[in-house]
Structure formats: structure tokens, C-alpha cells
């Protein structure tokens, strides 16, 4: 459509879009004043934003392989940064992260460090080199660098295991938000979410996903930052919360001292609805051993550098130079949200527990708390619960329970913000979950259609046929993911962390050594991928079925074991088998130089 000059017009196009979205928020706010119901506002927010994404998806339709797989390699640095940030920040980051910090404090914040520090590895070890390679997918790199269908297939398997684990969690999150905002049962809401996701990616592939992800980033960042700033100002905590909450953090510490962390008896806890938790850990004090913190951060960092849906975003930049810079921009846009999550957790916790604030509920009588409007709403949604365990009639810190999601979803209401903000937050959560699900489904479908179908099964297939296969796979994988999500097997955050561990177990060292160690060969890579994935999975199963584990490696960090096995087996097997051919070694030399042609052709 606007092709060609569309790229030059990007700042203008997204500028108008952002202005339009803000105007929409204002219209909704006016509507609320004029008596629009909260349900209608929720529906409007979700329906309006999803419709915009669908229109962008439709306008980006394409029948060219390089547009479908890598958005024509013309996505400018900053915009690719925004798209990656949306691709990266999932329902877990948006809805669950502030809640995790709220409940677990320091030990949980290892995830903040891990999910950002990984980008240093992406920028320095991998992204520019894979961009120079000119691959369409991550297995494309493995298959060409090491040679042979077995290595390519192994990479496809690792990618599918990791990404599929991740995508069910995201479809689950879209379903949760759609079911709350549209007021329909979760089992149907999951499919509403899925259809929205497919609308963005089916016609335009990577190109469609890129431009919808930029739009989704804008929605999600506004939806996250606006409430944080608003609440902070309303509480008088400071107009720029990030730099001004030291007093509030200290005050929470004081209150913790004053209330103490009373341990509830098992019999009392049995009455608390499943999934809700009380405040049992210090807010800002160090509450985890160095190894518990570092091992979790390390697993998340190496996982970041191995997750294919992130890596493939850097295949879309115009040059190697742009790929490097783009990683920096990605992390900058991620930083905006991640640095706000602890602030939201602080504001949320203080407004609930400080008896000196009008919103504080600790110390009030149980009957009084139970009469509060927002308490009743969120109690009904199964996200809040109080119970008078000690029978003294007042609410103590250990008698108040909340779901992790409530920190993001309910805080605006608790702080007394208008409902329009809650509608905005729902739209933001939906954008976060949809954008990640899109990237993941596309990563799996592209690997299966490009690497399995085209490169292994039918190398003579025409472009049109390849792209039809790619789209059919997209729908099939989406439905498979939604079906599993509808069964609600695992929580959102747990399965996201597992995905990182699976990816690092199988892919981290085969990818890194493919660029940085010329001697790495096919046999080594196959051993590294296979044994890494198998040993990581075996460790997970062992710990899950009651195994004690070793070295403090838990079910959240099993990738550390998997990747260690992967590294050792890859090095040993590479060294006892013959070195890679001269042609392969020359290829590695070329990958290391930014200038010149890509290794794989523009269309391949």
C-alpha cells in the first residue's frame, strides 16, 4: 500500500496513532463521567485496540518470502526496538511481575536483572552475527553453519519445545484478560484471544507482526506508566516515582518491623482460596542467598540469548550495525517498564498496609474492610481475601491475601483512580500478551514451514506454496496452544521461566559457539542440542517428582544444568570428531565481518 515511503513516514504514522489512542482514552474518560458503565468501557478498550491491530495486520499482507519471514529487512533501528520490547514483554511482565516483586521482594527481582542483562549477551555474542548470516529462522543458522538435516531438525525441536511452553502461557493470559474485560467464560475467551492473535500475523507474517507489535508497545507502555505516575502523584509520594520513592520504601520497612511477619497455621491457610498469598517477605531487604539470586538471574540471561522469537527480530534490521543498535533500543524500551514495576509494587503495598493513609486497610476492622466496594469486586474475582484468624476483629498483615495479578489490575481502583484507567490497563495487558504470543507462534510456524517443510521435506516447493504451508501451520499451532491453554495446566509465570530454561539447555552453546568457535562441528552441535535438552528435561522431571536436586539448582533454573551438559558434550564431541570443512570455516570468517553480502541469499 504505502510501501516504500511507508518506512520514511513511520514517525508520522505512529505519532498520529499515539495521538489517536490518547484521544480515545479521553473520550472514554468523558464517557465515564457521563455515566458509561465500567463493563462498556472495558469492552470498548479491548475491542478498539484489537480492531486497530487487525487493520494493521491486514494492511501488511504479503506474498513475498522475505517480507513474510523477515519483514523485508527494512525495519528501522528504533522501531525494531519497540517491536522487540513488545515481543519480549509478555503477559508475565505486564500482569505478573509487579505482583511477584510485591510478594517476594529481592529474591524475585533476580528476574528483573536476568531479563535485562540477557540483552548484553544478545548484542555482543549473537544478534549482529546472525543478522550478517542472513537467515530467516534460528534453525536456518544452525542448519547452514553446521550442515545437515539432523542438526537443523534438532534446532527445530528445541525451538518448538521452548516456544510452545511459552505460548500456552501467553494465550492463557490473553484469555484471562478477554474473559474479564468482555465478561465471557474463560474457555471461550481463550479462542477470542487466539483469533485476535492470528489476525495480526496470518496475512503479513513477520511484516504484519512487526507493525502491530510497535502499535502494541505504545498501548502497553502508556497503560503501565500512566497509572504509576498518577498513583504516585495522588498519594503525594513524588511526581517522578522512580527517583522519589526512597521514603516510601523505608516506610514499608518500618511497618514490616511494626507488624512483624506472623506465620499462619496450616489449618488457617487451608481457608485461603488457591493462588492467593499474603505478605510474608521483606519488601526491599535482601532475602535470598547470593546463589539463589545469581543462579536465577543467570538462567534468565542465557535463556534470553537463546529464545528464537527474540533473536529473529534482529533479522529484520537493514544492516548488521542497525542490529547492534537495535538491541540497545530494545532494552531501553524494556527498561521503561521494568524499572517501573518495583515502583508500582511499592505504591501498591504502601497504599494497602499503611494505617496512616486513607486507603490503608491493615488495622481497620474486618467488617469495615469487607464493606469496601473494591474489596467486594476483587474478592468476587477471587483475587482478594481477608479472614480474622486470631479473632480480634481487626485486620492484621497476616490476615490479608491477594492474587499476584491484582497488584497491576486492582491498584488503580484501590488508589481511587477512575475506571477508565482499569480499562486502559486491561488493553495494555492484552497488547502485551498478544504481541508475545504472535512472535512465538510465528517463530514456531516459520521454523516448521521453512526449515522442516521447505529445507528438509520439499526443497522444490514454490514460494506461494511455502507461504500457504506457513499460514496453515500458524493456525494449527495457534489452536493447539489455545486448546492446551484452555486446560489451565500451569500458571503463567512458571511456564514462562521453564521456556527460558528449555531454550538455554538446547540452544545457547550451539548458537554462541557457532560464531565464536570455528572448531565446533556438526557432530558436536547435534550432541550439544540433544544432550542439553534431554538432561535439562530429565532434571526438571526429577525435581518435580520429588528429587532433591543438587547445587541449589531448582525447577526454575534447570537450564543451568542442561546448558552445562550441552557445553561439555559439544566441546568433547567436536574435538574427537574431524574439524569442519574449509568451506564452513571460511563461512565463519565471513560471518565475523559486517560488510559484504549475507551468507544466505536475499530469497532462499
Amino acid at each position: 500500500m504505502m510501501k516504500g515511503n511507508f518506512i520514511d513516514n513511520l514517525p508520522k504514522v505512529y505519532g498520529i496513532y499515539t495521538g489517536g489512542f490518547i484521544a480515545f482514552i479521553i473520550i472514554m474518560a468523558i464517557g465515564e463521567q457521563m455515566g458509561m458503565t465500567s463493563k462498556a468501557i472495558g469492552i470498548c478498550f479491548v475491542a478498539f485496540t484489537v480492531a486497530i491491530y487487525a487493520i494493521i495486520g491486514y494492511m501488511s499482507r504479503t506474498m513475498a518470502a522475505d517480507a513474510y519471514y523477515v519483514a523485508g529487512r527494512q525495519v528501522p533501528t528504533v522501531f525494531n526496538g519497540m517491536a522487540t520490547a513488545a515481543d519480549w514483554m509478555s503477559g508475565a511482565s505486564f500482569v505478573a511481575m509487579a505482583g511477584g516483586i510485591y510478594f517476594k521482594g529481592y529474591g524475585y527481582m533476580a528476574l528483573l536483572v536476568g531479563w535485562t542483562g540477557g540483552y548484553v549477551l544478545v548484542a555482543s555474542l549473537l544478534a549482529p552475527y546472525l543478522r550478517k548470516f542472513g537467515c530467516y529462522t534460528v534453525p536456518d543458522f544452525i542448519g547452514t553453519r553446521y550442515g545437515g538435516n539432523v542438526s537443523r531438525l534438532m534446532a527445530v525441536i528445541v525451538l518448538t519445545v521452548a516456544s510452545f511452553t511459552y505460548v500456552t502461557a501467553q494465550i492463557n493470559a490473553t484469555g484471562t484478560i478477554a474473559s474479564v474485560a468482555l465478561d465471557i467464560p474463560f474457555q471461550y475467551a481463550v479462542y477470542v484471544g487466539l483469533v485476535s492473535i492470528l489476525l495480526c500475523s496470518m496475512l503479513g507474517g513477520m511484516r504484519g507482526v512487526t507493525w502491530t507489535q510497535v502499535a502494541q508497545y505504545i498501548v502497553l507502555i502508556i497503560a503501565y506508566l500512566l497509572p504509576v505516575f498518577w498513583i504516585s502523584n495522588k498519594m503525594g509520594a513524588g511526581f517522578f516515582p522512580h527517583f522519589m520513592l526512597a521514603d516510601e520504601v523505608a516506610r514499608i520497612g518500618e511497618l514490616e518491623q511494626q507488624f512483624g511477619f506472623v506465620k499462619n497455621s496450616a489449618a488457617d491457610l487451608a481457608n485461603v482460596p488457591k493462588g492467593l498469598a499474603g505478605i510474608t517477605k521483606a519488601h526491599s531487604a535482601v532475602n535470598a542467598t547470593p546463589w539463589a539470586f545469581i543462579s536465577l538471574a543467570l538462567a534468565m540471561m542465557m535463556g534470553t540469548a537463546s529464545l528464537p522469537h527474540v533473536m529473529m527480530r534482529y533479522f529484520t534490521t537493514p544492516s548488521v550495525k542497525a542490529a547492534r543498535k537495535s538491541v540497545g533500543w530494545s532494552l531501553f524500551f524494556i527498561f521503561l517498564l521494568y524499572s517501573s514495576a518495583p515502583m508500582l509494587a511499592t505504591l501498591s503495598k504502601l497504599s494497602l498496609i499503611d494505617p496512616a493513609l486513607s486507603t490503608g486497610i491493615i488495622g481497620k476492622s474486618i467488617a469495615e474492610v469487607q464493606a469496601i466496594d473494591w474489596y467486594q469486586n476483587w474478592n468476587q474475582a477471587n483475587l482478594m481475601f481477608v479472614s480474622d484468624f486470631n479473632g480480634n476483629g481487626t485486620l492484621e498483615l497476616n490476615e490479608f491475601f491477594m492474587g499476584g495479578k491484582a497488584v497491576v489490575l486492582a491498584t488503580p481502583e484501590i488508589a481511587g483512580l477512575p475506571y477508565v484507567i482499569s480499562g486502559l490497563v486491561a488493553a495494555g495487558g492484552m497488547a502485551a500478551a498478544m504481541s508475545t504470543a504472535d512472535g512465538l507462534i510465528l517463530a514456531i510456524a516459520n521454523a516448521l514451514s521453512h526449515d522442516l517443510y521447505y529445507k528438509i521435506i520439499d526443497p522444490k516447493a514454490e514460494t506461494a506454496k511455502r507461504l500457504v504451508v506457513a499460514r496453515v501451520l500458524l493456525v494449527v499451532i495457534g489452536f493447539a496452544g489455545a486448546t492446551i491453554a484452555a486446560m489451565e495446566i500451569q500458571g503463567i509465570l512458571g511456564s514462562v521461566i521453564w521456556a527460558f530454561d528449555f531454550a538455554m539447555s538446547g540452544l545457547f552453546f550451539p548458537l554462541v559457539l557457532g560464531v565464536w568457535w570455528k572448531r565446533a562441528n556438526k557432530e558436536g552441535a547435534i550432541a550439544g542440542m540433544a544432550l542439553g535438552l534431554i538432561s535439562g528435561t530429565a532434571y526438571l522431571v526429577w525435581v518435580r517428582t520429588g528429587g532433591s536436586g543438587f547445587l541449589g539448582i531448582t525447577q526454575l533454573t534447570f537450564g543451568i544444568f542442561g546448558s552445562a551438559v550441552s557445553l561439555v558434550s559439544m566441546v568433547v564431541v567436536s574435538l574427537i570428531t574431524s574439524e569442519p570443512s574449509a568451506a564452513t570455516q571460511k563461512m565463519v570468517d565471513e560471518v565475523r565481518v559486517p560488510s559484504g553480502k549475507t551468507i544466505l541469499g536475499k530469497q532462499h
Partner: protein, 86 residues
């Protein structure tokens, strides 16, 4: 030594430096989390807390841009940078 080998040597040097800084702020300082706790950090936050919610994250952002610029200089020095119209 060939131009390419020299370029790679410098690139590797930059990688080591980048990874060293990365290691300090993602792993190194958290070995001393408990020790840093009583120190007051920027904006009055406890130092460990500040690193986990702003410090390390911000340093990573700056580190990547710094790395990208240094690498570009290395590429230019050896004439391996890409044409602007790429």
C-alpha cells in the same frame, strides 16, 4: 597477521571487556547483596535494592550502546563497515 585476523582480535577484546562489565553488574555485585544493603544508594534507596530495580538495568542499556559504538569504530578502522545505503 591478516587484516581480518586483526579485526577479529580487536572484536574479541571488546567482547571480553563488555562481558567483564556485564559480569560485574549482573553477577559480581550480587555476591555482596547483604553487605551492600546498609549502604544508601542513589536517590536514597538502599544500594542493593537500587541496583536490582534501576542500577544494573540502566547500566546494561548504556553498556549495549557503548559496545555498539566501539564495535562500529573497530569495523571502520579495518574498512569492514557497511555502506550507508545498505
Amino acid at each position: 597477521m591478516s587484516k581480518q585476523a586483526q579485526h577479529w582480535e580487536k572484536t574479541r577484546g571488546l567482547l571480553m571487556m563488555t562481558l567483564a562489565i556485564w559480569f560485574v553488574f549482573s553477577i559480581g555485585i550480587f555476591l555482596f547483596g547483604a553487605e551492600m544493603e546498609s549502604v544508601t544508594g542513589p536517590f536514597g534507596y538502599p544500594l542493593t535494592y537500587w541496583f536490582t530495580c534501576q542500577g544494573s538495568l540502566g547500566i546494561f542499556v548504556i553498556l549495549i550502546f557503548w559496545f555498539a559504538n566501539r564495535q562500529e569504530k573497530i569495523d571502520e578502522e579495518f574498512g569492514f563497515s557497511e555502506r550507508e545505503d545498505d
